[in-house]
Symmetry: C2
Subunit: 235 residues, 2 copies
Amino acid sequence: MRLVVARCSVDYTGRLTAHLPLAPRLLIVKADGSVLVHSDGGSYKPLNWMTPPCTLTTSRRDDEEALEDPEGEWIEQWDVVHDKTGDRLRVRLVEVFEDSSHELGIDPGLQKDGVEAHLQALLAENIDTLGEGWSLVRREFFTAIGPVDILARDESGGSVAIEIKRRGEIDGVEQLTRYLELLNRDPLLAPVRGIFAAQAIKPQARVLAADRGIDCVTLDYDALRGIDDAESRLF
Amino acid sequence: MRLVVARCSVDYTGRLTAHLPLAPRLLIVKADGSVLVHSDGGSYKPLNWMTPPCTLTTSRRDDEEALEDPEGEWIEQWDVVHDKTGDRLRVRLVEVFEDSSHELGIDPGLQKDGVEAHLQALLAENIDTLGEGWSLVRREFFTAIGPVDILARDESGGSVAIEIKRRGEIDGVEQLTRYLELLNRDPLLAPVRGIFAAQAIKPQARVLAADRGIDCVTLDYDALRGIDDAESRLF
DNA sequence: ACATGTATGTCGTGG
DNA sequence: CCACGACGTACATGT
């Protein structure tokens, strides 16, 4: 990883064209050749960047040459070209304040907990919180247009398709609607009810779900985890 | 902006919990207090981060204290707490390879060109590329559920709602469908046809659009721009 | 402040 | 390799 702090201008040409006027910025060149251009604010997202796989070539001008050129007084130029899309990033460095390199090695990676996958697992294990006598058929029930999060049977043996979201918004209801349309064409399953389950459901999503005959359920992550813990203590 | 390269471990607790085991990484502290944790690959997105507004407090341990503690041999700890959500990021530094600071100032900002807004303006100005005798009614025609990109009239005076996307995918068709449902309830406008316009349209989106009776049009950005240039030269 | 739609989204997963 | 869905999505814009 190479870290450069420099006064520079940046141009990007690819899915769009963009230009950054001359100013001091942080430039990061990663081991895979990818480049990030960061300002001292507006975090997370770089002002400009190039994703791997890409190729970086650098060229220099000596001071005299730079001084002669009235247009751009840059002393070093980076040309980064994306290997597949041909997107281009050009960085022109005018004044370099820092330039250092470090060997970091490959990162062991992030361990996550508490995302949708986890919610799904918890609800699948505690499917009877939706109703007494309910049973799990499958998690990630595959259809031609994508996986249904949970397929279950209610107390009377009827099929229920459950879509789980951390946040319940309108496109989640659309997604479940598409699944229900498809599932209800299968005579072995039909009729299939829909349940839209989320930690919080927006009013618009609720209205749309009601209009489509889909039930809404709010999930309490901590409560589900609590049930799960309580159950595992029995063993 | 402070740049630190260090062997560190990171823990995040907030919308989820996440842990990064001890490894060498780049830590960036921006002027607004936000923190980014980057590895030497997998670009653009930090492994972990804290967005502003947030507060960073640092604490140190002297070497003896660190050596006595068999658990964690960290010598410096950063606690970053988000001012509004209470999300927490904790970084424990074990070995520091670099620690530098720079004053960058406020960035003049990015100039963009070629996104959806531009496509919309170009198509609005050249609405007759969709058919002879077509006319523009409004750009950003406002409805209760959001703005329709372009509302136009075809050669026979019929209403046409146009949804524009850079890339035509399934959710764009869903969006247009919702608009059409609503617009067709307005007796002054109905019947309203739909056109899904994009630089490239995915097969699935095409199929769904056909199923909904929506026409697809691919837009040639350069051609539209060319027409526009040619027209402006007439004045 | 909240809601909505876009993104050079990025990133994983499964076919 | 492509398609799809999740994301601590982030981010700008309009009310």
